[in-house]
Amino acid sequence: MKWEEIEKKIHSELDSKIIKWMKHNDNRIYIDIDPKDIVEVSEFLFRQLKARFIIASGVDTPRGGIEILYHFDFYQLPQVLSLRVFVEKPKLEIESIAGVIKGAEWIEREIAELLGVKFKNHPNLIHLILPEDWPEGKYPLRRDQ
């Protein structure tokens, strides 16, 4: 599939869900969406458009919440598409995409322990890189602690 085709399909299927479409350059595209749409949108990318989930990055912001970027690419194409969601404090809850994309299981565990985001319906939300006896409520990558 060519990128133009993928772009067209995203527009026709997901237009109502896109809050902002930002093109950093030809190969780096950022799309802001609502956290409640994350499973549906990533499922569409992964299943229909055959995207590959690269990784997710969690960023603590001074705007009262945490940004999570889900990075995707499309095999054999130079484009990286990053879905950006803003999860508000103090609830910090978002649906897990690990049910759809197996490869997202570890990074959600990592974001949960390092930034304190709760991934709902995650199959196994235990510590990944921090020890089991790590104190509860201490998140190393948070800026407000």
């Binding site: 690269i54 990784i55 970027l69 990286v80 490869g103 020890p131």
Partner: protein, 394 residues
């Protein structure tokens, strides 16, 4: 009745500590649990307190084997952030360093894999010829490892014209060695018996686990950042991506051996095409914004994401190493294998070698534990190879 066999977390053979809990029924593995985090050094947090220049050095410390792939992804991310394009000569030099590193990393892995299945000759040979590559790297960069060559907008050292004939001669010495390995590994009936059909990762599993590099390509997933999202000089040279279909350990070995040929091809073309010119743009600052950088490390795609507020320090720096996704896929590849093969399968993704120093067999019913050493697991593996040798009469 199923037993649990823990493997890891520390072993002198491996690059980094990990812990595997094998659930076995008799000899067969029925489930695998993976625990990581023994080597968590907080690099991402540390990066927030380093200047952009220092971050490149910091990420070079992530891995001691593919030490240049993290800086490569790092400068790609920063150049993406700043919209910077490094000069042509610098791109060729970067490519040469990356490919030399791929060869030495693959040879190192091949040696360890040989040792594990009881082919110590392959081990000695592989590491002997790896010296040629390390010598070239030392000549160019001054270091055998952790070359500190890359910076935003260029490279720190030039390749001297008077060194080029010597580099070419060294590469010529390497080629017969690669033929040797190809012959020794690809035509050996025992290695075939030991690795063919073992630890198969199917194409669908490779897609589901989102694996990359020489773990994905042998499973029929044609993915290589050098081709898909060309950086440095990869677009300007002619080379092929190695894709195999079987997905077993043998395909993973074959993929790495064939890739070394491509690497030599790339280096030679870079040496041919390199023209005199500047090697550094002397970038002073980076703007506010975001940057994404990718690079194909010997183990697969390295992914870096950085965010800047325009100051001299990153606000957030995210690193994803290829083993992060590849190790997870062992969960699928190990199931159904015997204990003697499982360690080989774990090693086949080239994460860190088998982690077999401490091996505790836990008998669930008797609540009894006994400790086996790494040597004993090696013995298990060697015995299996011996049995196959006898059976085949070689």
């Amino acid at each position: 009745m199923s037993e649990i066999i823990p493997i890891g977390p520390y072993h002198p053979l491996q690059e980094e500590p990990e812990f595997f809990r094998l659930h076995v029924e008799g000899e067969r593995v029925v489930k695998l649990e993976i625990e990581i985090g023994y080597n968590h050094r907080g690099i991402e947090k540390l990066a927030e307190s380093k200047s952009w220049d220092q971050v490149v050095f910091l990420v070079e410390r992530i891995c001691g084997i593919c030490s240049t792939s993290h800086p490569a992804a790092s400068i790609n991310a920063m150049e993406d952030l700043g919209g910077i394009e490094a000069p042509e000569r610098a791109q060729y030099i970067r490519t040469i360093i990356c490919e030399l590193e791929r060869i030495h990393s693959h040879l190192l892995w091949l040696g360890l894999a040989g040792h594990f299945i009881g082919y110590n000759t392959v081990w000695m040979w592989a590491w002997k010829y790896r010296e040629i590559v390390c010598d070239i790297l030392e000549k160019i960069t001054g270091n055998r490892q952790s070359y500190a060559m890359f910076k935003v907008g260029g490279v720190r050292r030039d390749i001297l014209d008077e060194d080029i004939p010597w580099i070419r001669k060294s590469l010529d010495k390497l080629k017969p060695a690669l033929d040797l390995f190809k012959g020794a590994v690809m035509d050996d009936p025992v290695i075939h018996a030991r690795t063919k059909g073992v630890g198969v990762l199917t194409k669908q599993q490779a897609i589901d686990y989102c694996v990359v590099g020489p773990t994905a390509r042998p499973s029929g997933v044609a993915i290589d950042v050098r081709k898909d999202d060309p950086y440095f000089a990869y677009e300007w040279v002619d080379w092929d991506i190695v894709v195999l279909e079987e997905g077993d350990v043998f395909a993973k070995v074959a993929c790495r051996i064939l890739e070394m040929y491509e690497s030599v091809k790339i280096i030679e073309q870079c040496l041919d095409k390199m023209k005199p010119g500047v090697i550094d743009l002397k970038v002073k600052e980076l703007p506010a914004g975001e940057g994404i950088g990718r690079a194909e490390a010997p183990r697969g795609e390295v992914y870096h994401y950085c965010r800047s507020d325009g100051s001299n320090f990153p606000v957030r720096y995210k690193v994803r190493a290829p083993s992060y996704v590849n190790i997870f896929s062992n969960e699928a590849a190990c199931v159904g294998e015997s204990i003697a093969d499982a360690a080989l399968v774990l090693a086949a993704v080239d994460p860190c070698y088998c982690c077999t120093e401490r091996l505790v067999v836990v008998d669930r019913d008797k609540k009894k534990e006994h400790l086996l050493s790494g040597n004993e697991l090696l013995r298990l593996s060697h015995e299996k190879t011996e049995q196959i040798r006898k059976r085949l009469g070689v």
